[in-house]
């Protein structure tokens, strides 16, 4: 009689029972039931909204130095809260609160920028390796191996430090580069797994063109882990950018309001006005936490093991 594997069958049947339209919808439904996912999503949403509307809701011009604040500003005294300035001054006599708000936007730029660059490059490398296999694969993986062999922060530090100009772009690139091998490996692994999957074989047997197979079958089915990774990378990117700023390798433009930068710049004033460090740090932690929570629950939702 049939010596079929019981397990496989159970999975198949469990799936047959579940209703819904597409896998993505399915995953979303499962996520909407998880409190962790909801917390993560809310944090991320608030952050996203804030980063869009922040420039319009700041009570003061975040880039202007105010006479009121400058009057009291000394190297060893940074004015605290006063009327009109909710959190007082920053180290240059600007409205700290407004800058914190606007910081959301710039932090998003750093996080998203780094993640996007890493994602695109990583996917190009990983996709090529996964699609072509063979020597292309081995060479590209050698290359990512080399990148991986340097600890990511170290890599970011050296890039940021050795890049000719310190700027936001440099920071973004430095952080992005460290994520490239991760995305590359992830996508490659998933694509290689797809290569030998039955549905790809089926498409090959149908005589579907190679390009179509790669783009319509292998790629879309390999994106799950990459998306999850991207969410998590957003969190680490913001943290790593902050680390670079702390090391003095960040974006030196003092006008820019970005949390990591604010945190990095505040080190000199940690005894004078510790809030300058605490508030951006807390903001970073919360946002990073939000993305991590979201990413983790996304991963769980996408994991077929957790389906049922």
């Amino acid at each position: 009689m049939t010596t079929l594997l019981n397990r496989k069958k159970q999975k198949v049947d469990a799936l047959a029972e579940s209703a819904g339209t597409s896998l993505a919808a399915d995953a979303l439904k499962r996520m909407s039931r998880s409190p962790v996912a909801i917390i993560g999503a809310v944090i991320v949403l608030v952050f996203l909204v804030l980063s869009v509307i922040a420039p319009f809701i700041t009570p003061k011009d975040p880039y202007k130095r105010y006479e009121e604040l400058l009057d009291q500003l000394r190297p060893d005294n940074i004015p605290g809260p006063m009327p009109g300035f909710l959190l007082g001054s920053d180290e240059l006599g600007r409205d700290f609160f407004s800058r914190l708000l606007v910081g959301a936007q710039q932090s998003l730029v750093v996080g998203v920028g780094a993640t996007l660059i890493g994602l695109v490059l990583g996917m190009l490398i990983g996709g090529a390796a996964g699609a072509f296999g063979g020597w292309v694969d081995s060479w590209l993986m050698r290359f990512t191996d080399i990148m991986l062999s340097i600890p990511s922060l170290l890599l970011a530090i050296s890039i940021a430090a050795l890049a000719s100009r310190g700027s936001q772009t440099t920071v973004i690139i430095a952080v992005a580069v460290t994520t490239v091998p991760i995305f590359a490996r992830l996508l490659r692994g998933a694509m290689l797994a797809q290569r030998h999957s039955d549905h790809v074989l089926a498409a090959t047997a149908l005589g579907v063109k190679r390009k179509t197979i790669v783009f319509r079958h292998m790629l879309p089915n390999s994106l799950g882990p990459v998306i999850v990774q991207a969410t998590l990378t957003l969190a680490t990117a913001i943290i790593e950018a902050a680390s670079l700023s702390f090391l003095g390798l960040g974006d030196p433009d003092p006008a820019r309001a970005e949390w990591g930068l604010m945190l990095g710049n505040s080190q000199r004033y940690i005894d004078v006005k510790p809030e300058l460090a605490y508030f951006p740090a807390i903001a970073i932690i919360i946002v990073a936490l939000g993305f991590t929570l979201l990413g983790e629950s996304l991963r769980e939702a996408l994991d077929p093991k957790n389906r049922r």
């Binding site: 069958k9 896998l23 074989l201 089926a202 149908l206 089915n221």
Partner: protein
């Protein structure tokens, strides 16, 4: 009962050879080595298979797990590259085809897979799964025509036309297998290779799919190569059956012949091992219990591949000469040196010393690379 499966009453054009596989070999290299990987051996998954499938017939292929059935099927389709041999399909040797001509040729040979879920792209709707093949071969002739064709296909496999917008995971196992079959049918193939089309299905659903395959054959005049390890299913569906053991065909005969008069010791053992859902039969049955396990295809025994487990093994020939598939009776071929003697009862079965089979001996180099990135670590 349909006519198609009964060659005696064939009204379908059972005729000349459609595919002829000649000495097909698929060897997978086992790689290992310092710095640069060297090939240290091969998995002889398919090792010299000859078979011929006639137009309109159903050829069944049975054998135990790992004996190379799927690899043979895939090798014929060039889904894995054959190491040697020929696959002559309708006069063309598929092994020599390249690029576009191979792709075009693929239209004519289709495959139905074992696991109906994994063989369907979970992210594509049934419609796009079915249209894909049409499009690849320029059979997509305008919206209307295609729509009509799709509905036709679905009704042929017994699915409602509302299925088009649904995704594979919304179907039951049997329904998914029907989609797989519809996909194969879409490009109007001549030959369908069905690799364990029912083994993932519950028995009751299995019957539905088996019936469906039969009906379709009748309707479209298809030729099937059905791979299965369930001999009952194979016998039911096939006109002729080949029995595989360790990369080679050991016996081939018409379905009835094979079951009533198995000639190869392995076939005999196999048939006697199949449980029959009838206590009367079971009680009466005399089993030929084999000892030991299937040897590794990476290190197949010399001579007759079966001699390590064969109760009829003889002192001469068996361990040294590899028997060729020879026609013992019209339409009945067997690869055993002693087939006639066994049949005539001149040779009696005897005890077989169990030979240890090392499972690990063939395991390809286990990758020792752990997760290698922050991401992988942070995200187990």
């Amino acid at each position: 009962m349909t006519a198609a499966v009964e060659p005696a009453a064939a009204d379908a054009p059972v005729g000349g050879s459609l595919v002829s596989v000649q000495d097909l070999k698929v060897h997978f290299p086992i790689k290992r080595g310092l710095i640069v990987d060297r090939t240290v051996g091969h998995v002889y998954a398919v090792d010299g298979v000859d078979l011929e499938i006639r137009r309109g017939e159903t050829y069944g292929l049975v054998g135990e797990s790992g004996c190379g059935k799927s690899t043979l099927g895939r090798g014929m389709l060039r889904l894995v590259e054959p190491t040697g041999g020929k696959v002559v399909f309708d006069g063309t040797d598929l092994v020599t085809l390249k690029g576009e001509s191979l792709r075009k040729m693929r239209r004519r040979i289709q495959m139905v897979f074992q696991d109906p879920m994994s063989s369907l792209d979970p992210r594509q709707s049934v419609e796009s799964i079915l249209v894909e093949g049409l499009r690849a071969h320029g059979l997509d002739k305008g919206r209307e025509a295609t729509g009509k064709r799709l509905r036709q296909l679905l009704s042929a496999v017994g699915l409602p036309s509302t299925s088009l917008r649904k995704y594979p995971h919304e179907f039951s196992g049997g329904q998914r297998q029907r989609i797989g079959i519809a996909r194969a049918l879409a490009v109007e193939p001549d030959l369908i290779i069905a690799d364990e089309p029912v083994s993932a299905l519950d028995v009751s659903v299995q019957a539905q799919v088996v019936n469906l395959l039969e009906e379709l054959q009748e309707e479209f005049g298809l030729t099937y190569l059905v791979i299965a390890h369930d001999l009952a299913v194979v016998r039911h569906i096939s006109d002729r059956v080949g029995v595989m053991y360790l990369g080679g065909i050991v016996e081939e005969a018409s379905s009835d012949d094979l079951y009533t008069e198995p000639l190869h010791p392995y076939t005999k053992a196999l048939l006697s091992a199949i449980p029959v859902p009838d206590p009367e039969v079971e009680d009466r049955r005399e089993r030929i219990l084999l000892t030991g396990d299937l040897p590794s295809p990476a290190n197949p025994p010399n001579g007759c591949r079966f001699h390590t487990r064969c109760p009829w093994k003889q002192e001469t020939k068996c361990a040294t000469d590899r028997p060729v598939l020879r026609e013992v009776r019209p339409g009945h071929r067997v690869a055993c040196h002693w087939a006639e003697d066994i049949e005539a009862g001149r040779i009696r079965p005897h005890e077989v010393e169990t030979v240890l089979v090392e499972e690990s001996a063939i395991s390809p180099d286990v990758s020792l690379i752990g997760p290698s990135s922050v991401g992988e670590v942070l995200n187990p």
